[in-house]
Amino acid sequence: MAFLELSHLEKSFGSNRVVKDFNLDVGQGEFISLLGPSGCGKTTVLRMVAGFETPSSGAIRIGGTDVVGKRPNQRNIGMVFQAYALFPNMTVAENVGFGLKIKGKGRDEIAARVTEMLRLIGLPDLGGRYPFQLSGGQQQRVALARALAPKPEVLLLDEPLSALDAKVRVSLRNEIREIQRELGITTIFVTHDQEEALSISDRIVVMNGGIADQVGPPFEIYNRPTTRFVANFVGQLNAFTATVEDGAAGRVRLAGVPVTLPAPVSGGSVDLAARPEALYLGRREGNDVVLPATVRDVHFLGSVIRIGADVAGMQVALDTFNRADQPPPAPGAVVELSLSSRDLIVLGG
């Protein structure tokens, strides 16, 4: 049974329906990311779980108890905000101990828990500092410790890494995941950064226009997107339109080349997609589809080279590893691209 259940959740601001029939079951200790572009409703869902927004309809159950009627301070939820939201008038230790003080815990118990939390976030000696004396990454760690100190049932992370620079972002996201695993706390993480979501989540909910477009583990979301939106939003994508020759047998014609898809298709034409890394420059064993292409541009990215090419009027991108003994083709060169028909994604929706 799910620990956190969101069922038929709806939220409207005036005539604007921001969240539409949103359903999600989160298991105990699971790390779920809500991923989507700005305005897709992901933060609104999180704020409804926190109690800062009241759903227009639907239910939110934590451990089987409906919390919709409860105020935010009655929900036993920990939250970390994008803007850190540390209390500027309090030291790090006072910030971390705030929730425990509210709960009426004793001084010794608070001190012990604060020490434990500061050790957990790797800042054991900074308890006496004020927030303005810390870097952004340190402030966000303290915010995480503060949220976790009162032992909440659910941890909500509202784009906690967005205000940090790239290097800190990567290290802190890994730390967050480690701490979450260690404590086994059910967590919802809101982000618009697909790399973040793919790297640390148990499951990802890709949201679009207030609905959950696809829910699944990162591997499935990336490799088996079920809608055009998910395919486009998560990772780079090459989209092709193919003509259906025998739908039941999965036979289509792509850029004039016959291709047999692993599953049957319907209609006169079908939209297919392939990730840049699924395309290969030249022929390769196991790649049953070979497409003639003209190189448009070449971007050297260090260990990877991204090549832009035209395939029968369609623009595609492919990634190939850099090898010192194999220089990339020059723009204008006529080449062959190959791929396995199993790597072709049939786009719906």
Binding site: P72, N73, A85, F87, F132, R146
Partner: protein
């Protein structure tokens, strides 16, 4: 900047300083002339030794403190709530808080006397405590424009909404949020408002005189009408208090421990 520009700047500055400083210097100089032929602090000594000075000054200080507490209790939650939940109401609240600058104190006090006289349904002027309360309410209204603006400016320097939500998610209720999170972070602003309130209350005449309370303002007026040097000594003292308040505002603003709060 050209020489002419710099010169003009200096001329304007010297003119301004002279305009403000000369009367004050004259006032101070005259207040020191109580003893014939030499400068002395006789007038100050006499004023300070006067039991009525001590009583009225003490009364006004007490009223100022009550007014400051009342002001904080009314303004901080109002400004907080308007910023957090009712931003649409801000222009209206600002307009209301500006009213005391437009409506003279004499209108307010006549309104009070008419509404709360001994034959009214709430005869507050019928007792000393009632009249004192009425005076404190009046002072609170007079100080409202300054207190509200000071607090609102202070609230602008912190992320009220996120701090409130962070405190709520940690289990805090409204009183805790206001008392432990919001108020401590706007203390410099609240103190600025408090010192302005103090300066206003100490010198206020109209409300105290017409409500017949033994405040410092009416005492200043009485002394001014009957004594030669003491009123000037009192005026210098009153200026000193006001300037001390202004200086304290600068101090608390500049040396606030959390002036670099992360937004």
């Amino acid at each position: 900047m050209s020489l002419w520009g710099r010169l003009t700047g200096w001329i304007v500055l010297i003119f301004g300083l002279t305009y403000f400083a000369l009367p004050l210097l004259g006032l101070t100089e005259f207040s020191l002339k109580a003893r014939r032929g030499v400068y002395s602090l006789d007038a100050y000594a006499k004023v300070i030794a006067d039991p009525e000075f001590q009583a009225t000054f003490g009364y006004s200080v007490m009223m100022a403190l009550v007014t400051i507490v009342l002001g904080i209790l009314i303004v901080v939650p109002t400004a907080f709530w308007v910023r957090l939940k009712m931003p649409w109401a801000r222009p209206y609240v600002e307009f209301i808080t500006l009213m005391p600058l437009v409506i003279p104190a004499i209108v307010i006090v006549f309104g009070y006397i008419r509404l709360y006289n001994t034959s009214s349904w709430l005869p507050m002027t019928g007792s000393i405590m009632g009249t004192n309360l009425l005076l404190a309410f009046g002072y609170t209204i007079l100080a409202l424009p300054y207190m509200y603006r000071a607090v609102d400016t202070g609230l602008r320097t912190i992320d009220v909404a996120t701090l409130t939500e962070a405190a709520q998610s940690l289990g805090a209720g409204w009183v805790t949020i206001l008392g432990r999170v919001i108020l401590p972070n706007v203390i410099p602003a609240v103190l600025s408002g408090a010192f302005l309130t103090f300066a206003i209350v100490i010198g206020e005449f109209t409300l105290a005189a017409l409500l017949d309370r033994p405040a410092f303002g009416p005492y200043l007026q009485r002394i001014g009408a009957n004594k030669p040097y003491e009123p000037f000594a009192l005026a210098v003292i009153a200026f000193g208090i006001t300037w001390a308040c202004m200086g304290l505002i600068q101090l608390v603003t500049r040396f606030s421990k959390h002036s670099k709060v992360a937004r």
